[in-house]
């Protein structure tokens, strides 16, 4: 029998069609019902318009789309043997603003998407309404602070287009730097008060048992999972992939904890018949992308310990997202403190893009994993634009024999609520998935 579930309270809407056999989920189809045709909207326009159009793919991670579009055009310059360079200052500022976008995403996911669900599957839990809960408002305050940092450099968040081939448009002074650092301090305080009682640094160096012995919501989540014996659910292929790089993230794929290099040329997309999202494969295989994949590559000790004990379970995925939040807070603070504001923000490419034909690929790590933009232009006009989003990697639909990453993680569960918990551990974004 097939049971259809509409999944609400995520970015957009998804439908899960569960097939049960003897009370166990035998199969599940993941459907995203809405398609907006973003790639088609860009085609025929001037290449630079991609800087304005692509952020509108997604309200929560649009900034990653801006950076991916910018990088795709910079790659296009290189491929067509045209000079293009950006200063370390410009690349650092881009990294700061993108880090902040990822941090705000993770806080929203933790408190708006996971927290209510986890509270409701706690033993003896009361009906949980987040709009009446102090946590919800404290998380929103932290989100406000972190978004301000993006606005200091980009003018606003969401939907700034302040990065362009050759650098960034802003010219910050020490005023913006110290303001940004003070907003960041507030988010550090929020982390310590709510997520982990010993704070950011301690979280990154703690062990599984220390994590459980402390206070804070991540400790509560993990304790709760162990108490009710669902700490191991949500396992999938245990295969990870990362394409984007910056001063923190490294690219590669991880198979049985061994790291191999990757090339975007082996990435393929395939349309599906019953949903607008396309499957995406690396050498014909499904891979998980996102914070857990990134932490596996970075060999973050706490995440690695969880992985040794629980493999790629939903709880490991959740811990990885929190660890990434902590790492990015640290990294962003360092970048702000070391930013060389005297260097140029922007170096105008010698050749105007209107005089160039060619193609390029831009890869960036967005909140949910690797984001790939491919652009092909003829004398500055877009002939073809392709976007492959992180959620496509994680939420593809495979076959019964060879299910997609999130499908595999849900198959075999008895309880619909736990299946939803596993599904949400991937941090769903339906607007990105179908674009």
């Amino acid at each position: 029998m097939i049971v259809k579930e509409i999944i609400e309270r995520i970015e957009g809407e998804a439908e899960l069609d569960f097939t049960y056999k003897n009370g166990i989920i035998e199969n599940v189809k993941i459907k995203f019902p809405h398609f907006r045709g973003m790639e088609h909207i860009i085609e025929g326009k001037s290449a630079m318009d991609a800087l304005v159009i692509t952020p509108r793919v997604c309200g929560i991670c649009g900034h990653a789309h801006l950076i991916a579009a910018t990088r795709a055009m910079e790659d296009l310059y290189k491929n067509s043997s045209n000079d293009i360079e950006i200063t370390k200052k410009a690349s650092d500022i881009r990294e700061i603003t993108l880090n902040c976008e990822i941090i705000q995403n993770h806080i929203k996911w933790f408190y708006f998407v996971m927290y209510p669900l986890i509270r409701s599957i706690q033993k003896g839990s009361q009906e949980f309404i987040s709009l009446k809960n102090k946590k919800f408002f404290e998380a929103q305050k932290a989100v406000v602070q972190i978004s301000k940092i993006i606005a200091l450099f980009g003018g606003q968040w969401p939907h700034t287009s302040y990065a362009l081939p050759g650098g960034v448009m802003c010219d910050p002074t020490y005023v913006e730097i110290v303001q940004a650092l003070s907003f960041l301090d507030e988010v550090y305080g929020f982390f310590e008060k709510n997520i982990f009682s010993d704070g950011v640094e301690a979280f990154l160096s703690c062990s599984n048992s220390e994590l459980i012995s402390k206070d804070g919501d991540i400790s509560l989540f993990v304790k709760n999972a162990y108490e009710q014996s669902y700490e191991k659910i949500g396992r999938s292929y245990d295969r990870f992939i990362v394409f984007g790089e910056n001063s923190l993230f490294k690219s590669g794929k991880v198979l049985t904890t061994i790291v191999y290099p990757v090339k975007t040329k082996y990435v393929t997309e395939k349309t599906q018949t019953f949903t607008y999202s396309k499957n995406v494969y690396y050498k014909d295989k499904f891979y998980e992308t996102g914070p857990l994949a990134r932490q596996m590559l970075l060999k973050q000790p706490l995440v690695r310990e969880f992985h040794r004990k629980l493999k790629d379970s939903a709880i490991t995925r959740i811990v990885a997202r929190v660890a990434e939040t902590a790492l990015l807070l640290q990294k962003t603070r360092d970048l702000l403190k070391c930013l060389d504001i005297d260097a140029p923000s922007y170096i105008r490419p010698k050749k105007n893009i209107h005089k160039i034909s060619g193609s390029g690929i831009g890869v960036v790590e967005a909140a949910r994993g690797s984001l790939i933009h491919k652009i092909e232009i003829k004398e500055g006009l877009v002939k073809k634009y392709e976007i492959i989003t992180p959620t496509q990697w994680n939420l593809g639909n495979g076959t019964k024999k060879c299910p997609g990453v999130a499908q595999k993680a849900m198959i075999g569960l008895k309880d619909k609520k736990l299946a939803e918990f596993v599904f949400r551990s991937f941090d769903i974004c339906s607007v990105c998935t179908t674009h």
Binding site: I6, E8, R9, I10, G12, E13, P33, H34, R36, G37, H40, I41, K45, S46, M48, D49, L51, V52, I53, R56, C58, G59, G62, A90, K108, F112, I129, L131, F137, Q140, K141, V143, V144, S147, K148, A151, L152, G154, G155, Q156, W157, P158, H159, T160, S161, Y162, L164, G167, V168, M169, C170, D171, T173, Q179, D342, P344, S345, Y346, I347, R348
Partner: protein, 304 residues
């Protein structure tokens, strides 16, 4: 003022064809907790609200505000829960006291209109013309465009209507209290505009972005430099040209360069006759103001 005991105004926040950007802009509002003390958000797609998406099609009560984020579409296949979006919107529109178009998509069709121009419009407007699918609801609709809108614009309008003050609407149903200003008003680069000194290039804090870099601030109705974004900045303050996102013709193309005829910008500041523009700029160009030619902080650095 609302006293805490007063009846809370009821809001339903519906999404059409959207990127969710207005929801995330709303999440930057600094008075969030107070907002929930004054308003009862019956339904929102992201938050844990009293109603779920499938309760909406059965919802029969009158309520105060229907907020729409995203464009409307007549495509019957576009569903919200089990109901087509258009049917659900119409049902709720009848019950709502006011309809607020939150953002440029809900106001005019926006970015997503371009993929399916036949089916997608704003509520009342289809770009500049009053041909939106639900134009019959014009008398209870207020447009609050922007891509995204600023959260304070939305909450200001909600607050005004809640205390019985109807905003003065312009020809696109935008509250003049917010949209009679131009994005240009209050821009910290205004002195450079007056003396016709454009930025040397992107990435400079000195200079105006209108003459060479495509800034639409002088032609765009918005309070961006009066009510700052994320309380700290604005595009033009940071160094990005205004892209005119509150206007019905958004998104235009070729956004980062100024189109010109005979070296005069193709689009002049809103309401300024060409003769006046040429006279004034002719005079200002005749002067070289040393102070404005210099770097603000350290003139010895970085002259690339």
């Amino acid at each position: 003022m609302h006293s805490p005991t007063a009846q809370k105004a009821k809001i339903i926040w519906l999404q059409g064809v959207t990127c969710n950007g207005n929801t995330h802009s709303f999440l930057n509002y600094e008075g969030f907790e107070r907002f929930f003390q004054r308003y009862d958000l019956l339904y929102h797609p992201l938050f844990d609200t009293e109603l779920g998406i499938n309760d909406l099609s059965k919802f029969e009560e009158n309520f105060d505000f229907l907020i729409l984020e995203g464009a409307v579409t007549g495509n019957e296949e576009f569903k919200r829960g089990k109901t087509s979006f258009a049917k659900l919107f119409e049902k709720l529109a009848k019950k709502a006291r006011y309809i607020l178009a939150a953002g440029s998509c809900a106001s005019y069709g926006g970015v997503f209109k371009e993929y399916d121009p036949e089916n997608i419009t704003g509520i009342v407007f289809d770009k500049e013309s009053k041909r939106g699918i639900f134009k019959e609801y014009e008398n209870k609709t207020v447009n609050i465009p922007g891509c995204p809108l600023h959260p304070e614009w939305l909450i200001t309008v909600l607050d005004m209507l809640s205390i019985g003050k109807m905003p003065h609407l312009d020809e696109y149903l935008r509250p003049k209290e917010l949209y009679a200003y131009l994005a240009h008003d209050g821009c910290i680069r205004n002195e450079y505009f007056e003396w016709k000194i454009d930025v040397k290039d992107f990435g400079y804090k000195e200079g105006c972005l209108y003459y060479e870099h495509g800034c639409r601030g002088p032609m765009t109705h918005a309070s961006c430099n009066k009510i700052l974004w994320n309380s700290v900045s604005s595009k033009t303050m940071a160094g990005m040209p205004c892209i005119g996102c509150t206007e019905p013709d958004f998104p235009k193309t070729e956004l980062f360069e100024t189109k010109k005829y005979m070296s005069i910008p193709a689009e002049l500041p809103f309401g300024i006759p060409k003769r006046a523009y040429l006279t004034v700029t002719g005079i200002t160009k005749a002067f070289k103001i040393d102070r404005l030619e210099k770097r603000l902080i350290d003139d010895s650095k970085r002259d690339n």
